[in-house]
C-alpha cells in the first residue's frame, strides 16, 4: 500500500528518467518537501538535479521556463497552490504563450508545475484554496488534477512527458487519506480524457481531484433512494473532454458538477454552459433561474470533510 506521497517518489520519476535531462526543484524540495513528496530524490539523483530554490514563486516558474526552453524536463514545485499567485504572470503570460508568440521557434513544453491544493480541514484561509479556475482561462497550458495515487502517478508521468506546460494540482487531502496499490512500473494515463468511474442512468456527476471520493459517497447515498448516478472524473480541466460529459448527459438528462473552489466563475460554470449548449434539448431541468444549482457544492465542504475524517479515524 502506498500513499500519494510515496507514489510521487517512486512513480513520478523512475530511475533513468531524472538522469535524462530532468530537474526537480522548489522551496524545501531538497530535503523532501514539506509534504515529503521528494524524499530520497537528492540521494538518488544529486543536488544539482533536485534542489531547493530561494523562496520566490515567480523565480521558480521563470527559472523552470528557461530550463524547459532548453529541452529539459523542469518539474517545479509550488509549496501550496495558495502561493502560486506570485508566479501567475510567468505562467499566464510566459509559459502559456511561449510557443505561440514565437511561431513555434521556442517552447517550454517540458515544464510541469506541481502544487498541493484543496482543503484538509485545518488549513484555514491560506492552505486550503482550489485556484484551478484561474488557470483554466489560459490557452497554452494544461491543468490536470488526479483523484487518487494510482491516477496521480499515471497522470503526472504524462504531464512531465507532455510537450506542453502543465499545472498539476495535487489534492493534499489525498496525501494522508488515500491509499491504494500503485503499480511500480512506468505507466501513463491520457491527458484530456475524462473517465466514467461509475455508470448510472438518472444523473451525471462531474468533478475532479478530492471531490471524487465525496461524490462517490454521495452516489452511494443516492442509490439508497433509488437514484442511479453516473460519476465522471474530468482529470484534465483544460483542454477538457466535452464529449464524454456530453454523451453522459444525453443519456441521463441531468448534470451536477461540484468543486471545492468558489462557485462564481468557477470551472463548473464553464462545464455547465458548454453542456447546456450541446445538450439543450436533452436536459430535463432548465439550467437557469433558481434551479441553476448545478455548479454548487452538494455538501458544505468542511462538514463533509469532518465527516470523512471522523469515519477514517474510526
Amino acid at each position: 500500500m502506498l500513499s500519494l506521497i510515496c507514489l510521487i517518489i517512486s512513480g513520478g520519476h523512475p530511475r533513468g528518467f531524472l538522469a535524462n535531462k530532468a530537474y526537480v526543484f522548489g522551496e524545501d524540495v531538497g530535503f523532501g518537501g514539506v509534504f515529503r513528496c521528494t524524499t530520497g530524490l537528492v540521494d538518488r539523483f544529486g543536488k544539482r538535479r533536485v534542489f531547493n530554490t530561494p523562496l520566490c514563486e515567480q523565480g521558480i516558474v521563470g527559472f523552470g521556463i528557461g530550463l524547459a526552453a532548453m529541452g529539459n524536463r523542469a518539474i517545479a514545485e509550488i509549496q501550496f497552490a495558495d502561493y502560486i499567485f506570485p508566479a501567475f504572470d510567468q505562467i499566464v503570460n510566459e509559459a502559456a504563450k511561449f510557443r505561440y508568440r514565437s511561431g513555434n521557434q521556442f517552447n517550454c513544453g517540458g515544464l510541469t508545475i506541481r502544487a498541493p491544493y484543496g482543503a484538509v480541514g485545518h488549513g484555514g484561509h491560506y492552505h486550503s484554496q482550489s485556484p484551478e479556475a484561474f488557470f483554466c482561462h489560459v490557452p497554452g497550458i494544461k491543468v490536470v488534477i488526479p483523484r487518487s495515487p494510482r491516477q496521480a502517478k499515471g497522470l503526472l508521468l504524462s504531464c512531465i512527458r507532455d510537450p506542453n506546460p502543465v499545472v498539476f494540482f495535487e489534492p493534499k487531502w489525498l496525501y494522508r487519506l488515500a491509499v491504494e496499490e500503485v503499480p511500480e512500473h512506468d505507466y501513463m494515463l491520457p491527458l484530456s480524457e475524462a473517465e466514467v468511474i461509475r455508470e448510472g442512468s438518472d444523473i451525471t456527476l462531474v468533478g475532479w481531484g478530492a471531490q471524487l471520493s465525496i461524490m462517490e459517497q454521495a452516489s452511494f447515498e443516492a442509490e439508497k433512494d433509488g437514484i442511479s448516478c453516473e460519476l465522471i472524473d474530468l482529470r484534465t480541466l483544460i483542454p477538457w473532454d466535452k464529449e464524454i460529459v456530453e454523451a453522459s448527459v444525453k443519456k441521463t438528462g441531468r448534470l451536477l458538477i461540484t468543486h471545492e473552489a468558489p462557485v462564481t466563475a468557477g470551472f463548473g460554470a464553464e462545464i455547465s454552459a458548454s453542456i447546456v449548449e450541446r445538450c439543450f434539448l436533452r436536459i430535463e431541468y432548465p439550467c437557469n433561474g433558481p434551479q441553476c444549482d448545478i455548479t454548487r457544492n452538494i455538501f458544505h465542504l468542511s462538514t463533509m470533510h469532518a465527516q470523512t475524517t471522523r469515519n477514517s479515524n474510526r
Binding site: C56, G62, I65, G66, P86, N93, E94, R101, S102, N164
Partner: protein, 397 residues
C-alpha cells in the same frame, strides 16, 4: 569581548559600535570608459584590442541600426506598420555587446536591443517581415512589431511583459552549466525593469544557482515618462548586484569600446567561474519611448538634443575608427545609401508578402491543436462565410 561569531550563513564580526549602514556611499560608483568624448582612447583603460574587421562591422552595424530605426519609424508614421520602437542613442550597447559574445551565447532580450540580432546576421528583410506581421514573420504575425525572435540566432522571442525574461535567463544558464557548455546567457533590461519583482528574483536565483548569466541593464534614464529619480533611490542599478552577491560593473553605454571590453571580460568570468555578472550601461533614450509616445511632454528638448549630438555613440566611435584609417567619409555615405536602398526594398517586399493564414491563429497554442480549438476554428470559418464583409479580406482563409 568575543571577536566574532558563527551564525547560520557564516562567521560575522561582533562590534560594540552601533552603526547603521548609510543608504548610499559618499561617492557614486564610477563609470568605466575607454574612449573620451573626442574618441581618443584613455590610455589606462586596458581596453580589448579590436581588429579592423570587427571595428568596421561594429560601426556599420550601428549606422545600419540607426537607418533602420529612422525608416521604420517613418513607415509607422505613414501608417504602413502599426507600431515601432527605436534604439536611438543606445546603439552601442546592443551592437558592441553582441560583438563581444560568441554566437553560441544565448540572448534573452527586452525590446530595445535589435542591435544584437543585427550583429548576428538577422537581415533587414527579416526585421521588416516581423514589423509587417506577414507570413514570413517567424512569429506568424502574432505579436506587435519589434517582437523579434530567432532560434537560429540564439535570440529568444521578445515578449511585452517587462522583466519576465530575467528569471528565465537563469534557467537557460543553469541548463548550459549542467550541460557543461562553453557559453553563457546574456539578458537585457531597462532601468524601469529593475523595479519589477522578476529582476530581483533573477539576480537572487542566479547568485544562488551559480548560473553563467550576464545581466545587462541599459540605464537610459527613462521608463516611458518616469525618470530614474522616481524609479529608485539607490545609486542606479550597479549597486544592487552586491546585495545579491553578484559581481557588477558600471560602464559608459555610449562608448562602444567600453561596452565591448567590459562584456568580453564579463562573459569570460561568467563562463570560467560559473557565476552571474551584472553590467549597468549608462546611456540615454534619445528617441521617444515608442511611436505611441511624445517625450517632449515630459522632458526638455535641450536635454534630448545634448544626448543626440554631444553624446552620440556613433559619432564617438566613428572618430576612433576613422582616426585608425579604417573608415572614410566616402565609406560613410556609401553605407548610408546602400542601407537605405536595402531598407526601402525590404519594406516593399514585406508589404507585398501575404498575411499569415487563418489557421495560424489556432496552431502553436499547444504542440497540436486540441479539439476545443478545432471547434472554435470551425465556428469562426462558418461565421466568416456568413459575414465575409466583416472580416479582413487580406487574410488567406
Amino acid at each position: 569581548m568575543q571577536q566574532s561569531m558563527d551564525f547560520p550563513g557564516g562567521r560575522v564580526a561582533l562590534t560594540s559600535k552601533m552603526k547603521f549602514i548609510f543608504e548610499s556611499s559618499e561617492q557614486r560608483i564610477p563609470c568605466y570608459r575607454v574612449l573620451d568624448d573626442d574618441g581618443y582612447p584613455i590610455s589606462s583603460s586596458g581596453f580589448e584590442q579590436v581588429s579592423r574587421e570587427i571595428a568596421v562591422k561594429m560601426y556599420s552595424g550601428m549606422v545600419t541600426l540607426r537607418n533602420m530605426d529612422t525608416i521604420f519609424y517613418e513607415a509607422q508614421r505613414q501608417g504602413r506598420i502599426s507600431f515601432y520602437v527605436t534604439s536611438f542613442g543606445e546603439e552601442a550597447i546592443g551592437v558592441a555587446s553582441a560583438a563581444a559574445l560568441s554566437p553560441d551565447d544565448i540572448v534573452l532580450p527586452q525590446y530595445r536591443e535589435p542591435g544584437v540580432l543585427l550583429w548576428r546576421g538577422f537581415t533587414l528583410q527579416e526585421f521588416a517581415h516581423q514589423c509587417f506581421g506577414n507570413k514570413a514573420d517567424y512569429g506568424k504575425g502574432r505579436q506587435m512589431p519589434i517582437h523579434y525572435g530567432s532560434n537560429k540566432h540564439n535570440y529568444f522571442t521578445i515578449s511585452s511583459p517587462i522583466a519576465t525574461q530575467l528569471p528565465q535567463a537563469v534557467g537557460v544558464a543553469y541548463s548550459l552549466k549542467m550541460d557543461k557548455k562553453d557559453a553563457c546567457v546574456v539578458t537585457y533590461m531597462g532601468d524601469g525593469s529593475t523595479s519589477e519583482g522578476d529582476f530581483h528574483a533573477s539576480l537572487n536565483f542566479a547568485a544562488v544557482m551559480e548560473a553563467p548569466v550576464v545581466f545587462i541593464c541599459r540605464n537610459n534614464g527613462w521608463a516611458i515618462s518616469t525618470p530614474v529619480s522616481e524609479q529608485f533611490r539607490s545609486d542606479g542599478v550597479v549597486v544592487k548586484g552586491q546585495a545579491y552577491g553578484i559581481r557588477s560593473i558600471r560602464i559608459d553605454g555610449n562608448d562602444a569600446l567600453a561596452v565591448y571590453t567590459a562584456i568580453r571580460v564579463a562573459r569570460e568570468m561568467a563562463i570560467s567561474e560559473q557565476r552571474p555578472i551584472l553590467v549597468e550601461a549608462l546611456t540615454y533614450r534619445v528617441g521617444h519611448h515608442s511611436t505611441s509616445d511624445d517625450s517632449t511632454k515630459y522632458r526638455p528638448i535641450e536635454e534630448i538634443e545634448h544626448w543626440k549630438t554631444a553624446q552620440n555613440p556613433l559619432a564617438r566611435f566613428r572618430k576612433w575608427v576613422q582616426r585608425n584609417g579604417w573608415w572614410s567619409d566616402e565609406d560613410e555615405s556609401e553605407l548610408h545609401e546602400n542601407v537605405r536602398k536595402q531598407l526601402l526594398h525590404a519594406i516593399q517586399v514585406a508589404e507585398k508578402t501575404e498575411k499569415p493564414q487563418l489557421s495560424d491563429m489556432f496552431t502553436d497554442v499547444y504542440d497540436q491543436v486540441p479539439s476545443n480549438l478545432s471547434e472554435q476554428e470551425r465556428l469562426l470559418r462558418e461565421t466568416i462565410k456568413k459575414h465575409p464583409q466583416d472580416y479582413p479580406s487580406d487574410v488567406p482563409i
